[in-house]
Symmetry: C2
Subunit: 284 residues, 2 copies
Protein backbone atom coordinates (compact mmCIF):
# COMPACT_ATOMS: atom_id res chain seq x y z
CA UNK A 1 0.00 0.00 0.00
CA UNK A 2 1.24 3.48 -0.81
CA UNK A 3 2.03 5.78 2.04
CA UNK A 4 -0.50 8.56 2.71
CA UNK A 5 1.58 11.73 3.14
CA UNK A 6 -1.17 14.27 3.81
CA UNK A 7 -4.91 14.62 4.26
CA UNK A 8 -5.64 15.33 0.60
CA UNK A 9 -4.13 11.94 -0.21
CA UNK A 10 -6.16 10.42 2.61
CA UNK A 11 -9.45 11.77 1.24
CA UNK A 12 -8.47 10.74 -2.29
CA UNK A 13 -7.97 7.20 -0.99
CA UNK A 14 -11.40 7.23 0.66
CA UNK A 15 -13.08 8.44 -2.53
CA UNK A 16 -11.88 5.25 -4.22
CA UNK A 17 -13.80 2.99 -1.79
CA UNK A 18 -17.30 2.53 -0.44
CA UNK A 19 -18.75 5.45 1.54
CA UNK A 20 -18.42 5.10 5.29
CA UNK A 21 -21.53 5.17 7.50
CA UNK A 22 -21.10 7.90 10.12
CA UNK A 23 -23.13 8.46 13.31
CA UNK A 24 -22.53 12.09 14.29
CA UNK A 25 -23.35 13.48 17.74
CA UNK A 26 -24.56 17.08 17.88
CA UNK A 27 -22.65 18.10 14.76
CA UNK A 28 -24.56 21.36 14.81
CA UNK A 29 -21.73 23.88 15.13
CA UNK A 30 -20.39 25.65 12.06
CA UNK A 31 -17.09 23.73 11.90
CA UNK A 32 -18.68 20.29 12.32
CA UNK A 33 -21.34 21.22 9.76
CA UNK A 34 -18.74 22.24 7.19
CA UNK A 35 -16.82 19.02 7.72
CA UNK A 36 -19.91 16.83 7.30
CA UNK A 37 -21.03 18.72 4.23
CA UNK A 38 -17.65 18.30 2.52
CA UNK A 39 -17.33 14.59 3.41
CA UNK A 40 -20.78 13.88 2.00
CA UNK A 41 -20.17 16.00 -1.09
CA UNK A 42 -16.89 14.19 -1.77
CA UNK A 43 -18.78 10.93 -1.57
CA UNK A 44 -16.85 9.08 1.11
CA UNK A 45 -19.31 9.45 4.00
CA UNK A 46 -23.02 9.01 4.64
CA UNK A 47 -23.87 10.88 7.82
CA UNK A 48 -26.70 10.51 10.34
CA UNK A 49 -26.54 13.45 12.75
CA UNK A 50 -28.06 12.88 16.18
CA UNK A 51 -28.92 16.37 17.41
CA UNK A 52 -31.66 15.96 19.98
CA UNK A 53 -30.50 18.99 21.94
CA UNK A 54 -29.82 16.64 24.87
CA UNK A 55 -26.16 15.71 24.32
CA UNK A 56 -26.33 12.53 26.42
CA UNK A 57 -29.38 11.30 24.55
CA UNK A 58 -27.70 12.06 21.19
CA UNK A 59 -24.56 10.21 22.23
CA UNK A 60 -26.57 7.20 23.39
CA UNK A 61 -28.42 7.06 20.08
CA UNK A 62 -25.22 7.22 18.03
CA UNK A 63 -23.71 4.39 20.06
CA UNK A 64 -26.92 2.34 19.61
CA UNK A 65 -26.70 2.81 15.84
CA UNK A 66 -23.18 1.38 15.84
CA UNK A 67 -24.29 -1.53 18.04
CA UNK A 68 -27.08 -2.30 15.55
CA UNK A 69 -24.40 -2.55 12.86
CA UNK A 70 -25.82 0.44 10.99
CA UNK A 71 -22.87 2.82 11.45
CA UNK A 72 -19.11 2.29 11.04
CA UNK A 73 -17.76 5.32 12.95
CA UNK A 74 -18.84 7.95 15.47
CA UNK A 75 -18.15 11.67 15.04
CA UNK A 76 -18.14 14.02 18.01
CA UNK A 77 -19.82 17.39 17.44
CA UNK A 78 -20.26 20.24 19.90
CA UNK A 79 -20.59 18.20 23.12
CA UNK A 80 -18.30 17.67 26.09
CA UNK A 81 -15.95 14.73 25.69
CA UNK A 82 -17.00 13.24 29.03
CA UNK A 83 -20.64 13.12 27.92
CA UNK A 84 -19.73 11.21 24.76
CA UNK A 85 -17.41 8.93 26.72
CA UNK A 86 -20.19 8.11 29.19
CA UNK A 87 -22.17 6.60 26.31
CA UNK A 88 -19.14 4.82 24.83
CA UNK A 89 -18.09 3.40 28.19
CA UNK A 90 -21.57 2.25 29.26
CA UNK A 91 -21.11 -1.30 30.51
CA UNK A 92 -24.31 -2.71 29.04
CA UNK A 93 -24.83 -0.63 25.93
CA UNK A 94 -21.38 0.77 25.27
CA UNK A 95 -18.56 0.30 22.78
CA UNK A 96 -15.55 -0.68 24.89
CA UNK A 97 -14.46 -4.31 24.44
CA UNK A 98 -13.50 -5.79 27.80
CA UNK A 99 -9.86 -5.18 28.69
CA UNK A 100 -9.30 -2.59 25.96
CA UNK A 101 -7.45 0.61 26.79
CA UNK A 102 -9.15 3.76 25.54
CA UNK A 103 -6.72 6.41 24.30
CA UNK A 104 -6.45 9.37 21.97
CA UNK A 105 -4.16 9.58 18.94
CA UNK A 106 -3.54 12.47 16.59
CA UNK A 107 -2.22 12.38 13.05
CA UNK A 108 -0.40 15.59 12.29
CA UNK A 109 0.62 16.79 8.84
CA UNK A 110 3.67 18.96 9.33
CA UNK A 111 4.34 21.10 6.24
CA UNK A 112 8.00 21.46 7.20
CA UNK A 113 8.42 17.69 7.12
CA UNK A 114 6.01 17.09 4.24
CA UNK A 115 4.53 14.08 5.97
CA UNK A 116 2.22 12.87 8.72
CA UNK A 117 3.45 12.17 12.26
CA UNK A 118 1.30 10.42 14.88
CA UNK A 119 1.08 11.52 18.51
CA UNK A 120 -0.64 10.36 21.72
CA UNK A 121 -2.14 10.83 24.22
CA UNK A 122 -3.19 14.51 24.53
CA UNK A 123 -6.69 14.00 25.89
CA UNK A 124 -7.70 10.79 27.62
CA UNK A 125 -5.11 9.04 29.84
CA UNK A 126 -3.57 11.49 32.35
CA UNK A 127 -0.49 9.46 33.32
CA UNK A 128 -0.18 6.24 31.30
CA UNK A 129 0.96 3.14 33.17
CA UNK A 130 3.43 0.79 31.48
CA UNK A 131 0.53 -1.36 30.24
CA UNK A 132 -1.42 1.64 28.97
CA UNK A 133 1.65 3.00 27.20
CA UNK A 134 2.19 -0.38 25.58
CA UNK A 135 -1.43 -0.23 24.35
CA UNK A 136 -0.90 3.32 23.02
CA UNK A 137 2.13 2.11 21.08
CA UNK A 138 0.21 -0.84 19.63
CA UNK A 139 -2.64 1.43 18.49
CA UNK A 140 -0.11 3.84 17.00
CA UNK A 141 1.59 1.04 15.05
CA UNK A 142 -1.80 -0.07 13.71
CA UNK A 143 -2.76 3.49 12.78
CA UNK A 144 0.65 4.03 11.15
CA UNK A 145 -0.09 0.91 9.09
CA UNK A 146 -3.36 2.47 7.92
CA UNK A 147 -1.33 5.43 6.64
CA UNK A 148 1.00 2.98 4.86
CA UNK A 149 3.94 3.40 7.25
CA UNK A 150 5.21 -0.16 7.48
CA UNK A 151 8.01 0.09 10.04
CA UNK A 152 7.18 3.16 12.15
CA UNK A 153 9.89 4.91 14.15
CA UNK A 154 8.41 5.51 17.57
CA UNK A 155 9.96 8.16 19.82
CA UNK A 156 9.39 8.08 23.57
CA UNK A 157 9.33 11.82 24.34
CA UNK A 158 10.86 13.32 27.46
CA UNK A 159 12.66 16.45 28.61
CA UNK A 160 15.86 14.45 29.07
CA UNK A 161 17.74 11.83 27.08
CA UNK A 162 18.75 9.90 30.17
CA UNK A 163 17.08 6.91 31.76
CA UNK A 164 17.06 7.64 35.48
CA UNK A 165 15.09 6.98 38.65
CA UNK A 166 14.62 10.72 39.00
CA UNK A 167 12.06 10.37 36.21
CA UNK A 168 10.21 7.04 36.70
CA UNK A 169 8.63 7.34 33.24
CA UNK A 170 12.05 6.76 31.72
CA UNK A 171 12.26 3.37 33.46
CA UNK A 172 9.04 2.39 31.68
CA UNK A 173 10.55 3.70 28.46
CA UNK A 174 13.50 1.36 28.96
CA UNK A 175 11.12 -1.59 29.33
CA UNK A 176 9.23 -0.65 26.17
CA UNK A 177 12.48 -0.39 24.20
CA UNK A 178 13.46 -3.87 25.42
CA UNK A 179 10.05 -5.22 24.43
CA UNK A 180 10.57 -3.79 20.96
CA UNK A 181 14.04 -5.35 20.76
CA UNK A 182 12.49 -8.71 21.65
CA UNK A 183 10.17 -8.26 18.68
CA UNK A 184 7.00 -7.90 20.74
CA UNK A 185 5.77 -4.94 18.69
CA UNK A 186 6.43 -6.60 15.34
CA UNK A 187 7.92 -4.39 12.65
CA UNK A 188 8.64 -1.17 14.53
CA UNK A 189 11.49 0.86 16.00
CA UNK A 190 11.01 2.17 19.54
CA UNK A 191 13.63 4.45 21.09
CA UNK A 192 14.09 7.20 23.66
CA UNK A 193 13.91 9.08 25.88
CA UNK A 194 14.20 11.81 23.28
CA UNK A 195 13.26 15.44 23.43
CA UNK A 196 10.66 16.43 20.90
CA UNK A 197 13.02 18.33 18.66
CA UNK A 198 15.66 15.60 18.42
CA UNK A 199 12.89 13.13 17.60
CA UNK A 200 11.96 14.93 14.39
CA UNK A 201 15.03 17.03 13.53
CA UNK A 202 18.26 15.27 12.59
CA UNK A 203 20.32 18.46 12.94
CA UNK A 204 19.23 18.90 16.56
CA UNK A 205 20.03 15.28 17.36
CA UNK A 206 23.44 15.67 15.72
CA UNK A 207 24.27 18.85 17.67
CA UNK A 208 23.44 17.03 20.91
CA UNK A 209 25.56 14.07 19.76
CA UNK A 210 22.63 11.66 20.03
CA UNK A 211 22.89 8.26 18.38
CA UNK A 212 19.45 6.73 17.91
CA UNK A 213 17.77 4.44 15.39
CA UNK A 214 15.10 7.15 15.17
CA UNK A 215 17.67 9.22 13.22
CA UNK A 216 15.70 12.42 13.82
CA UNK A 217 12.79 11.30 11.65
CA UNK A 218 10.23 9.70 13.91
CA UNK A 219 6.79 8.69 12.68
CA UNK A 220 5.20 8.44 16.11
CA UNK A 221 5.65 10.69 19.17
CA UNK A 222 4.66 9.04 22.45
CA UNK A 223 4.13 11.83 24.97
CA UNK A 224 5.13 11.39 28.61
CA UNK A 225 1.70 12.48 29.88
CA UNK A 226 -1.53 14.24 28.99
CA UNK A 227 -0.15 17.69 29.88
CA UNK A 228 2.72 17.46 27.42
CA UNK A 229 0.48 15.93 24.76
CA UNK A 230 -2.16 18.60 25.18
CA UNK A 231 0.36 21.43 25.06
CA UNK A 232 1.92 19.95 21.89
CA UNK A 233 -1.49 19.71 20.25
CA UNK A 234 -2.61 23.20 21.23
CA UNK A 235 0.72 24.78 20.29
CA UNK A 236 0.58 23.28 16.82
CA UNK A 237 -2.99 24.44 16.25
CA UNK A 238 -2.36 27.92 17.67
CA UNK A 239 0.98 28.74 16.04
CA UNK A 240 1.66 26.55 13.01
CA UNK A 241 0.15 25.49 9.69
CA UNK A 242 0.09 21.88 10.88
CA UNK A 243 -3.05 20.01 9.84
CA UNK A 244 -4.53 17.57 12.28
CA UNK A 245 -6.74 14.53 12.53
CA UNK A 246 -7.63 13.15 15.93
CA UNK A 247 -9.41 10.10 17.15
CA UNK A 248 -10.26 7.82 20.03
CA UNK A 249 -8.60 4.40 19.86
CA UNK A 250 -9.66 1.19 21.56
CA UNK A 251 -13.43 1.34 21.16
CA UNK A 252 -15.40 -1.15 19.05
CA UNK A 253 -15.46 1.41 16.22
CA UNK A 254 -13.26 4.39 15.26
CA UNK A 255 -14.38 7.62 16.91
CA UNK A 256 -13.54 11.08 15.60
CA UNK A 257 -12.91 12.97 18.84
CA UNK A 258 -12.06 16.61 18.16
CA UNK A 259 -11.92 19.53 20.56
CA UNK A 260 -14.87 21.91 20.42
CA UNK A 261 -12.51 24.71 19.37
CA UNK A 262 -10.97 22.74 16.48
CA UNK A 263 -11.19 24.08 12.93
CA UNK A 264 -13.49 22.73 10.22
CA UNK A 265 -10.41 21.22 8.54
CA UNK A 266 -9.43 19.32 11.69
CA UNK A 267 -12.98 18.02 12.01
CA UNK A 268 -12.94 16.94 8.34
CA UNK A 269 -9.52 15.26 8.63
CA UNK A 270 -10.54 13.49 11.83
CA UNK A 271 -13.68 12.14 10.21
CA UNK A 272 -11.57 10.97 7.26
CA UNK A 273 -9.12 9.23 9.58
CA UNK A 274 -11.95 7.38 11.35
CA UNK A 275 -13.30 6.29 7.96
CA UNK A 276 -9.82 5.10 6.91
CA UNK A 277 -9.61 2.98 10.06
CA UNK A 278 -13.09 1.57 9.40
CA UNK A 279 -12.11 0.67 5.82
CA UNK A 280 -9.01 -1.16 7.10
CA UNK A 281 -11.22 -3.16 9.48
CA UNK A 282 -13.56 -4.09 6.62
CA UNK A 283 -10.65 -5.36 4.52
CA UNK A 284 -9.67 -7.89 7.18
CA UNK B 1 8.86 52.49 30.81
CA UNK B 2 7.85 51.53 27.29
CA UNK B 3 6.94 47.93 26.66
CA UNK B 4 9.53 45.84 24.80
CA UNK B 5 7.60 43.97 22.10
CA UNK B 6 10.41 42.01 20.47
CA UNK B 7 14.12 41.29 20.70
CA UNK B 8 15.18 44.06 18.34
CA UNK B 9 13.57 46.52 20.74
CA UNK B 10 15.27 44.75 23.63
CA UNK B 11 18.74 45.11 22.07
CA UNK B 12 17.99 48.72 21.13
CA UNK B 13 17.20 49.38 24.78
CA UNK B 14 20.48 47.78 25.87
CA UNK B 15 22.49 49.89 23.40
CA UNK B 16 21.26 52.98 25.22
CA UNK B 17 22.85 51.91 28.52
CA UNK B 18 26.20 50.83 29.91
CA UNK B 19 27.65 47.60 28.47
CA UNK B 20 26.98 44.54 30.61
CA UNK B 21 29.91 42.43 31.91
CA UNK B 22 29.42 38.83 30.82
CA UNK B 23 31.19 35.71 32.11
CA UNK B 24 30.71 33.07 29.38
CA UNK B 25 31.31 29.35 29.97
CA UNK B 26 32.68 27.35 27.03
CA UNK B 27 31.09 29.65 24.45
CA UNK B 28 33.14 27.87 21.81
CA UNK B 29 30.43 26.47 19.54
CA UNK B 30 29.45 28.30 16.39
CA UNK B 31 26.09 29.56 17.67
CA UNK B 32 27.46 30.84 20.99
CA UNK B 33 30.36 32.46 19.14
CA UNK B 34 28.06 34.31 16.76
CA UNK B 35 25.92 35.54 19.65
CA UNK B 36 28.91 36.85 21.60
CA UNK B 37 30.39 38.53 18.54
CA UNK B 38 27.14 40.36 17.77
CA UNK B 39 26.55 41.45 21.38
CA UNK B 40 30.06 42.89 21.60
CA UNK B 41 29.82 44.53 18.20
CA UNK B 42 26.51 46.16 19.12
CA UNK B 43 28.20 47.53 22.21
CA UNK B 44 25.95 46.23 24.97
CA UNK B 45 28.20 43.43 26.29
CA UNK B 46 31.81 42.93 27.32
CA UNK B 47 32.51 39.21 27.35
CA UNK B 48 35.08 37.08 29.17
CA UNK B 49 34.87 33.54 27.80
CA UNK B 50 36.07 30.78 30.13
CA UNK B 51 37.00 27.93 27.79
CA UNK B 52 39.50 25.80 29.66
CA UNK B 53 38.33 22.64 27.91
CA UNK B 54 37.29 21.30 31.33
CA UNK B 55 33.66 22.43 31.54
CA UNK B 56 33.48 22.19 35.35
CA UNK B 57 36.61 24.28 35.73
CA UNK B 58 35.27 26.88 33.29
CA UNK B 59 31.94 27.05 35.12
CA UNK B 60 33.69 27.47 38.48
CA UNK B 61 35.81 30.30 37.12
CA UNK B 62 32.81 32.16 35.67
CA UNK B 63 31.00 31.88 39.01
CA UNK B 64 34.11 33.13 40.83
CA UNK B 65 34.23 36.18 38.54
CA UNK B 66 30.65 37.06 39.47
CA UNK B 67 31.42 36.56 43.18
CA UNK B 68 34.35 38.98 42.86
CA UNK B 69 31.89 41.56 41.50
CA UNK B 70 33.63 41.59 38.12
CA UNK B 71 30.79 40.15 36.02
CA UNK B 72 27.06 40.93 35.96
CA UNK B 73 25.71 37.84 34.18
CA UNK B 74 26.71 34.30 33.23
CA UNK B 75 26.26 32.84 29.74
CA UNK B 76 26.12 29.07 29.19
CA UNK B 77 28.00 27.81 26.14
CA UNK B 78 28.41 24.22 24.93
CA UNK B 79 28.34 22.46 28.30
CA UNK B 80 25.79 20.27 30.03
CA UNK B 81 23.33 22.19 32.18
CA UNK B 82 24.01 20.01 35.22
CA UNK B 83 27.73 20.85 35.09
CA UNK B 84 27.00 24.59 35.10
CA UNK B 85 24.40 24.14 37.84
CA UNK B 86 26.93 22.30 40.01
CA UNK B 87 29.06 25.44 40.05
CA UNK B 88 26.07 27.74 40.59
CA UNK B 89 24.67 25.59 43.40
CA UNK B 90 27.99 25.09 45.21
CA UNK B 91 27.24 25.80 48.87
CA UNK B 92 30.48 27.62 49.62
CA UNK B 93 31.39 29.26 46.31
CA UNK B 94 28.06 29.27 44.50
CA UNK B 95 25.43 31.79 43.44
CA UNK B 96 22.22 30.60 45.06
CA UNK B 97 21.01 32.83 47.91
CA UNK B 98 19.69 30.71 50.77
CA UNK B 99 16.03 29.79 50.37
CA UNK B 100 15.84 30.89 46.73
CA UNK B 101 14.09 28.67 44.21
CA UNK B 102 16.04 28.10 40.99
CA UNK B 103 13.88 27.95 37.89
CA UNK B 104 13.93 28.53 34.16
CA UNK B 105 11.92 31.13 32.28
CA UNK B 106 11.64 31.76 28.56
CA UNK B 107 10.63 34.92 26.78
CA UNK B 108 9.04 34.05 23.47
CA UNK B 109 8.37 36.49 20.65
CA UNK B 110 5.40 35.11 18.74
CA UNK B 111 5.10 36.76 15.30
CA UNK B 112 1.38 35.90 15.15
CA UNK B 113 0.78 37.88 18.33
CA UNK B 114 3.39 40.57 17.63
CA UNK B 115 4.57 40.50 21.22
CA UNK B 116 6.58 38.63 23.83
CA UNK B 117 5.04 35.98 26.08
CA UNK B 118 6.88 34.49 29.09
CA UNK B 119 6.86 30.78 29.95
CA UNK B 120 8.23 28.50 32.69
CA UNK B 121 9.54 26.04 33.65
CA UNK B 122 10.74 23.88 30.71
CA UNK B 123 14.07 22.80 32.14
CA UNK B 124 14.80 22.86 35.85
CA UNK B 125 11.94 21.94 38.25
CA UNK B 126 10.31 18.62 37.24
CA UNK B 127 7.06 18.94 39.20
CA UNK B 128 6.77 22.31 40.96
CA UNK B 129 5.32 22.31 44.47
CA UNK B 130 2.89 25.06 45.44
CA UNK B 131 5.76 27.05 46.93
CA UNK B 132 7.96 26.56 43.87
CA UNK B 133 5.14 27.55 41.56
CA UNK B 134 4.56 30.66 43.65
CA UNK B 135 8.25 31.49 43.21
CA UNK B 136 8.03 30.89 39.45
CA UNK B 137 5.10 33.32 39.26
CA UNK B 138 6.99 35.95 41.26
CA UNK B 139 10.03 35.67 38.97
CA UNK B 140 7.75 35.88 35.94
CA UNK B 141 6.08 39.04 37.26
CA UNK B 142 9.50 40.60 37.83
CA UNK B 143 10.71 39.57 34.38
CA UNK B 144 7.49 40.87 32.81
CA UNK B 145 8.24 44.17 34.55
CA UNK B 146 11.67 44.27 32.90
CA UNK B 147 9.91 43.98 29.52
CA UNK B 148 7.62 46.85 30.56
CA UNK B 149 4.49 44.72 31.15
CA UNK B 150 3.04 46.37 34.23
CA UNK B 151 0.07 44.15 35.06
CA UNK B 152 0.89 40.77 33.52
CA UNK B 153 -1.90 38.29 32.77
CA UNK B 154 -0.67 34.95 34.06
CA UNK B 155 -2.27 31.75 32.74
CA UNK B 156 -2.01 28.52 34.72
CA UNK B 157 -1.83 25.98 31.89
CA UNK B 158 -3.55 22.61 32.01
CA UNK B 159 -5.27 20.14 29.71
CA UNK B 160 -8.60 20.91 31.39
CA UNK B 161 -10.45 24.02 32.52
CA UNK B 162 -11.80 22.37 35.63
CA UNK B 163 -10.41 22.40 39.15
CA UNK B 164 -10.67 18.81 40.36
CA UNK B 165 -9.03 16.32 42.67
CA UNK B 166 -8.37 14.13 39.63
CA UNK B 167 -5.60 16.60 38.78
CA UNK B 168 -3.99 17.75 42.07
CA UNK B 169 -2.11 20.50 40.22
CA UNK B 170 -5.41 22.27 39.66
CA UNK B 171 -5.93 22.47 43.45
CA UNK B 172 -2.63 24.35 43.69
CA UNK B 173 -3.80 26.54 40.82
CA UNK B 174 -6.90 27.44 42.84
CA UNK B 175 -4.71 28.47 45.78
CA UNK B 176 -2.51 30.64 43.57
CA UNK B 177 -5.58 32.37 42.12
CA UNK B 178 -6.81 33.09 45.62
CA UNK B 179 -3.39 34.47 46.59
CA UNK B 180 -3.56 36.78 43.60
CA UNK B 181 -7.07 37.89 44.54
CA UNK B 182 -5.78 38.73 48.02
CA UNK B 183 -3.19 40.97 46.37
CA UNK B 184 -0.19 38.84 47.34
CA UNK B 185 1.35 39.08 43.87
CA UNK B 186 0.89 42.85 43.59
CA UNK B 187 -0.25 44.13 40.22
CA UNK B 188 -0.97 40.92 38.31
CA UNK B 189 -3.85 38.79 37.04
CA UNK B 190 -3.57 35.04 37.71
CA UNK B 191 -6.20 32.68 36.28
CA UNK B 192 -6.72 29.12 35.12
CA UNK B 193 -6.66 26.24 34.64
CA UNK B 194 -6.59 27.15 30.95
CA UNK B 195 -5.49 25.15 27.96
CA UNK B 196 -2.64 26.72 26.08
CA UNK B 197 -4.70 27.82 23.11
CA UNK B 198 -7.44 29.51 25.14
CA UNK B 199 -4.74 31.33 27.11
CA UNK B 200 -3.46 33.16 24.04
CA UNK B 201 -6.33 33.01 21.53
CA UNK B 202 -9.55 34.85 22.32
CA UNK B 203 -11.46 33.07 19.55
CA UNK B 204 -10.68 29.64 21.07
CA UNK B 205 -11.72 30.80 24.52
CA UNK B 206 -14.96 32.20 23.10
CA UNK B 207 -15.81 28.97 21.23
CA UNK B 208 -15.36 27.04 24.48
CA UNK B 209 -17.50 29.63 26.29
CA UNK B 210 -14.72 30.44 28.75
CA UNK B 211 -15.01 33.59 30.85
CA UNK B 212 -11.62 34.57 32.23
CA UNK B 213 -9.87 37.82 33.12
CA UNK B 214 -7.04 36.52 30.88
CA UNK B 215 -9.33 37.28 27.91
CA UNK B 216 -7.27 35.07 25.60
CA UNK B 217 -4.26 37.37 25.75
CA UNK B 218 -1.97 36.11 28.48
CA UNK B 219 1.50 37.52 29.03
CA UNK B 220 2.80 34.58 31.08
CA UNK B 221 2.20 30.85 30.61
CA UNK B 222 2.84 28.79 33.76
CA UNK B 223 3.29 25.19 32.63
CA UNK B 224 1.95 22.30 34.73
CA UNK B 225 5.31 20.49 34.71
CA UNK B 226 8.70 20.23 33.02
CA UNK B 227 7.44 17.80 30.37
CA UNK B 228 4.75 20.18 29.10
CA UNK B 229 7.14 23.13 29.29
CA UNK B 230 9.87 21.31 27.41
CA UNK B 231 7.51 20.10 24.69
CA UNK B 232 6.16 23.65 24.27
CA UNK B 233 9.66 25.04 23.95
CA UNK B 234 10.88 22.38 21.52
CA UNK B 235 7.72 22.57 19.41
CA UNK B 236 8.07 26.32 19.00
CA UNK B 237 11.72 26.06 18.01
CA UNK B 238 11.15 23.14 15.65
CA UNK B 239 8.01 24.28 13.84
CA UNK B 240 7.50 28.03 14.17
CA UNK B 241 9.22 31.35 13.59
CA UNK B 242 9.00 32.14 17.30
CA UNK B 243 12.10 33.83 18.66
CA UNK B 244 13.26 32.87 22.11
CA UNK B 245 15.29 34.09 25.04
CA UNK B 246 15.81 31.79 27.99
CA UNK B 247 17.33 32.18 31.39
CA UNK B 248 17.81 30.80 34.85
CA UNK B 249 15.99 32.73 37.59
CA UNK B 250 16.73 32.80 41.31
CA UNK B 251 20.53 32.92 41.30
CA UNK B 252 22.53 35.88 42.56
CA UNK B 253 22.95 37.05 38.96
CA UNK B 254 21.01 36.52 35.72
CA UNK B 255 22.14 33.41 33.84
CA UNK B 256 21.60 32.86 30.12
CA UNK B 257 20.82 29.13 30.05
CA UNK B 258 20.22 27.94 26.50
CA UNK B 259 20.00 24.40 25.14
CA UNK B 260 23.08 23.20 23.25
CA UNK B 261 20.96 22.82 20.11
CA UNK B 262 19.57 26.35 20.26
CA UNK B 263 20.16 28.75 17.37
CA UNK B 264 22.60 31.67 17.38
CA UNK B 265 19.59 34.03 17.60
CA UNK B 266 18.26 32.29 20.71
CA UNK B 267 21.70 32.51 22.30
CA UNK B 268 21.90 36.22 21.41
CA UNK B 269 18.39 36.97 22.72
CA UNK B 270 19.06 35.04 25.92
CA UNK B 271 22.23 36.96 26.56
CA UNK B 272 20.32 40.21 25.92
CA UNK B 273 17.60 39.19 28.37
CA UNK B 274 20.17 38.45 31.08
CA UNK B 275 21.75 41.85 30.46
CA UNK B 276 18.31 43.53 30.66
CA UNK B 277 17.72 41.89 34.03
CA UNK B 278 21.16 43.00 35.25
CA UNK B 279 20.45 46.58 34.16
CA UNK B 280 17.16 46.54 36.11
CA UNK B 281 19.05 45.39 39.22
CA UNK B 282 21.59 48.22 38.81
CA UNK B 283 18.77 50.80 38.63
CA UNK B 284 17.45 49.84 42.08
Amino acid sequence: MNTIHNFEELRERLRQGEPCRVAAVEATDEHSGEAVEKAVKEGWAVVTNFATGDPQESANEAVAMVLRGEADVIMKGIINTDVLLRAVLNKEHGLLPKGNVLTHLSAIYLPMLGRIVLMGDPAVIPNPTLEQREAIIRYAIKLAGAYGIEEPRIALIHCTEKISEKFPITLDYQKLIEMCQRGEFGKAIVDGPSDLKCAICKESADIKGIKSPLEGRSDVLIMPDIQAGNVFYKTLTAFTDAQLAVGLMGAACPISLTSRSDSADTKLNSLAMACLQASMERKK
